[in-house]
């Protein structure tokens, strides 16, 4: 398998709003140093941030990995539960399991997953209730 030129890994703690955005921020800065186009970085940073927030808000914790190749960036986000019961439904814009007060804070608007898939060139989601969710996002440079 092709070795990534650069790999980054960050652990995400459930409910850790203080550290929210750290991982995606670091990924973003690294890509700026690599010299990836600003618009592409923006798509990567937004999807990484949305994924990061999802793990922090909804999951029991997980990891985010970014692999940078000369022609693309791959982001993999794995969490350990509770998983998504109906992935198709979760992918619909505006669908959210977040309660109203979270939505009013600007989170859980049901735009996270659709946003990510809109930003991505390839997007996949696997989830098992009780086990966890794995997202894969590939964005071409």
């Amino acid at each position: 398998m092709e070795q990534p030129a650069l790999a980054m890994e960050f652990h995400l703690t459930a409910g850790d709003f203080n550290g929210a955005g750290d991982a995606s921020g670091k990924i973003k800065r690294t890509l700026q140093q690599v010299g990836v186009k600003a618009e592409v970085i923006r798509r990567i940073a937004i999807s990484a941030y949305e994924a990061e927030m999802n793990v922090i808000i909804h999951s029991l914790g997980g990891d985010i990995r970014a692999k940078v190749y000369p022609d693309r960036t791959e982001i993999e986000v794995k969490d350990s539960g509770p998983g998504i019961a109906d992935v198709d439904q979760a992918m619909q814009e505006g669908y959210s399991t977040a309660p109203d007060h979270i939505r009013e804070m600007g989170f859980g608007a049901g735009m996270g997953l659709p946003n990510m898939s809109r930003c991505a060139d390839r997007f996949s989601i696997e989830s098992k209730v009780g086990e966890g969710t794995t997202l894969r996002i590939i964005i071409n440079h």
Binding site: Q32, Q33, V34, I46
Partner: protein
């Protein structure tokens, strides 16, 4: 390579090579090399932070002087509204404007009038649903440059209008042409400026259009003289063109959006805080906000590095002036903004972060940088002349510094060398080694190794004698 003009400069003789400026610079544009600060031109955004924090006053802003106005037969002064904050309440705006006439200007045109025009243009623009949100104010040239170098993906969010001073200058030039029919090169248009970024924006416009301003004169430079003429001739007050509180309010943080009547606004000032907020905009977090008013100086232009008065005092005075204005004229009638008057040129990104033009090389450098960074102590002390260990790691991979520039790495290396020398000193050629029990040396050696292993994790017990 593009040539950059900067108004922020270094007075070399005054610089002691301390690290105050490199620590404050928001774009990490300064390094200490050869005992003096060096500004990397492509990174500098002329925010003036280094001027403010230099304990030796070695940083300065190059501005034009009053003597420069003699180059033109007819001169117009464009005072920044923040100028009014430098005077006590009893000195009226009219007195200040007329004071400028006494300094040798033929006319005075209040920059706040330009601010009124931009105010209506922004109000109009926000009516359109398709405008990118949040819209970011483009009034502060240091913020615009910060976006060009650090957040190029946000250029589309910037207000597509010229800054008030540039609009005021256009109005002045148009009026002059209409009134006199004389050629424009006879007209000198001078901005009385609170900050160096404004001068840079004149010499090297932010967009691709040339500036209509001839030069900028620092408020700090003319304050003394201006104060003197105002106090000397309090009676000689004529009527000068001046703006309402709405335009004047642009001098303080929050004044711009208050004038425009935008409610869903985020007001942020001080360059480091702006960087943090822009970071959030770039992550797509602040889409629910309509407008971001961002001013590089704490408090807004009244906190500019070329101001004389303490910024809190200046803010107090400014707010009082505005309160009086609001009482007299709660809803000022603002001039409409003709399209061509407010348009600014296209802004190009000027990314500073990338390590190499070649993406593969850049990837390699990022990896090298990470490895180098792991070896550095992480104290960010600045003794190496780079602002942080991360910046030093970057300088090392770019071939502009060496790991031994770090005093801790240097000490470590000196320690290793000393150890090596000790090892060599203990070695004797067999011909001189008269002792029968060679174990003595071995014992000595094993003791030394034991001594080091505690501190260094015992990883290099063979290295000492090699």
């Amino acid at each position: 390579m593009i040539e950059y003009f900067h108004s922020v400069r270094l007075i070399s003789e005054r610089c002691k090579g301390c690290v105050s400026c490199i620590k404050r610079c928001p774009t990490e544009a300064i390094r200490i090399r050869g005992g003096k600060a060096k500004i990397t031109e492509s990174r500098c955004i002329d925010c003036g932070e280094c001027i403010r924090y230099c304990p030796n006053r070695a940083k300065t802003a190059v501005t034009d002087s009053l003597a420069d106005i003699k180059r033109y037969p007819h001169n117009v002064a464009l005072p920044a509204p923040s100028l009014y904050s430098q005077f006590e309440a009893q000195v009226t705006v009219d007195a200040i404007l007329c004071g400028l006439l006494s300094l040798g200007f033929d006319e005075v045109f209040d920059v706040a009038v330009g601010a009124e025009v931009v105010t209506t243009a922004i109000r109009e623009l926000l009516q359109h649903k398709q405008v990118k949100r949040p819209l970011i104010s483009s009034a502060c040239p240091a913020v615009v440059r910060l976006i060009q170098v650090k957040f190029p993906e946000l250029i589309d969010h910037l207000v597509p209008f010229e800054a008030p001073v540039e609009i005021a200058a256009r109005m002045v030039r148009e009026e002059y042409a209409r009134r006199t029919g004389r050629p424009q090169d006879e007209l000198g248009v001078w901005f009385i400026t609170p900050c160096p970024a404004k001068l840079t924006a004149i010499r090297q416009p932010l967009g691709d259009l040339p500036s209509n301003i001839s030069g900028a004169i620092s408020i700090a430079d003319i304050f003394g003289e201006l104060r003197r003429v105002i106090l000397q001739k309090p009676a000689a007050v004529a009527k000068c063109r001046r703006a309402s509180w709405a335009g004047m309010g642009w001098a303080v943080a929050g004044g711009e959006t208050e004038a425009a009547g935008v409610l869903n606004t985020l007001v942020v000032h001080e360059i480091h805080s702006i960087s943090n907020v822009l970071e959030q905009v770039a992550m797509g977090k602040l889409k629910d906000i309509d407008y971001v008013e961002a001013l590089a100086c704490a408090g807004g232009c009244i906190g500019g590095p070329l101001m004389v008065e303490n910024r809190f005092v200046a803010e107090h005075r400014m707010r009082n002036r505005l309160a009086v204005g609001k009482r007299l004229q709660p809803q000022p009638e603002l001039p409409l903004a003709p399209e061509d008057l407010v348009q600014r040129g296209t802004l190009e990104p000027r990314p500073i972060m990338r390590l190499d033009e070649d993406i593969s090389k850049a990837l390699y450098k990022v990896e090298q940088m990470e490895r180098t960074l792991e070896r550095l102590p992480g104290l960010d002390c600045g003794s190496c002349g780079s602002p942080t260990c991360k910046a030093l790691a970057e300088d090392i991979v770019q071939g502009q510094a060496s790991e031994m520039d770090c005093i801790f790495k240097l000490r470590e290396r000196v320690h290793e060398l000393a150890k090596e020398m000790m090892g060599l000193a203990e070695k004797l050629p067999p011909s001189l080694d008269k002792k029968e029990k060679k174990g003595a040396i071995r014992d000595g050696k094993s003791k030394r190794v034991a001594g080091t292993s505690g501190r260094r994790g015992g990883s290099d017990d063979s290295g000492g004698g090699a």
